[in-house]
Amino acid sequence: MNLAKFNRVTHRDIGYLIAGLTIIYAISGIALNHKHDWNPNYIIDNTGFKTDMHIARENINKETALEILKKIPGALEYKTWYFPTGNILTIFVEGGSVRINTNTGEGTIERISKRPLFYQINFLHYNPGRWWKYFSDIFCISLILVTVTGLFLVKGKNGITRRGAILTGIGIILPLLFLFIY
């Protein structure tokens, strides 16, 4: 096998191997890139309500928390309650929480659910464990290999010595420009 064929075969086979993971990292990369604009992992739904119940700190216990939940719209399954200093009572329910301002009676039901697909791919992107870290390292090395072998795939006017050189140069200059600007 000559060098050109070895290069092509390496590029092709590693490319096939890492196609799925590249897409996973790329999609979660976009999602995480915009994490200040949206929550890529969870769908958080907040619904406001108002209750006329008089809620006194000294009366709060599991029974009163259950009573409060009964008067709030939606079937909410009680877990526990939390009432630190201040006027915000939190009742934790399955899949979220209920927060009530005990002075005004105004409250919010917060329901949290995993964002389908994104939760899973973001989980992988965040390196969930030691073995995934090593796996990701192999993936990154493979990505470098695919890129480098890709540079030498085509010969002639579209190869790395002519058109390829210009495009590769642009690809290197662009991040350098950003570095210079920032």
Binding site: G20, K35, H36, N39, N41, Y42, I44, K79, T80, Y82, F83, P84, T85, T90, F92, V93, G96, S97, I112, K114, P116, L117, Y119, Q120, F123, Y126, N127, P128, G129, R130, K133
Partner: protein, 170 residues
């Protein structure tokens, strides 16, 4: 053959999406040191006694960071005093299902450098308690809910726990 491989990949992805409900216990072996079981009240009374030690403490989860998923707070009997627990680099994220659950969390109690410096600058408010500003620096000063919560309420001393294991009690 190709159709079979493609179909299996899609099915695997869908199964992965539907599963992952949050494990009851997550752990990682960091060294072989046994943890010392500590009551939350003891931790409040003498937090400095446990710095650098591997401890396990039980508490109620009152906040889980929805952004990074690697930070949570637990409280004991006093709801105003919370312990900041952070998952290390190699630990998976805390599932949101932990919110409102009683958990036993095991890990090393640490004093981040940022807060130690904040303490030297006179930012500590009192024995075992401080306003969260220094801790926000330790948390990376990001804009997630956990960092905001740290800034608005007192936290157990200027400490945090880098956890290695947690188990849901109820």
């Amino acid at each position: 053959m190709m159709k079979k491989i493609f179909s299996l990949s899609i099915i695997a992805l869908l199964v992965l999406s539907c599963g992952n409900k949050g494990k009851k216990e997550v752990s990682q072996n960091i060294g072989n040191s046994e943890s010392v079981k500590v009551e939350f009240a003891s931790l409040i009374a003498n937090p400095s006694e446990y710095v650098g030690k591997n401890i396990s403490v039980e508490g109620k989860v009152v906040h889980v960071c929805t952004m990074s998923g690697k930070k949570l707070f637990i409280t004991g009997e006093n709801p105003d005093v919370r312990l900041y627990v952070q998952a290390g680099e190699e630990m998976p994220k805390f599932p949101m299902e932990l919110l409102g659950s009683e958990i036993i969390v095991e890990g090393t109690l640490t004093q981040p450098v940022a807060t130690a410096m904040a303490g030297e600058e006179g930012m500590n408010k009192g024995e075992g308690m401080m306003e969260g500003e220094g801790m926000v620096k330790a948390a990376g000063a990001d804009t997630c809910e956990t960092a905001k919560a740290l800034a608005s309420q007192p936290v157990l001393s200027d400490l945090m726990m880098i956890y290695s294991k947690h188990a849901v009690v109820k």
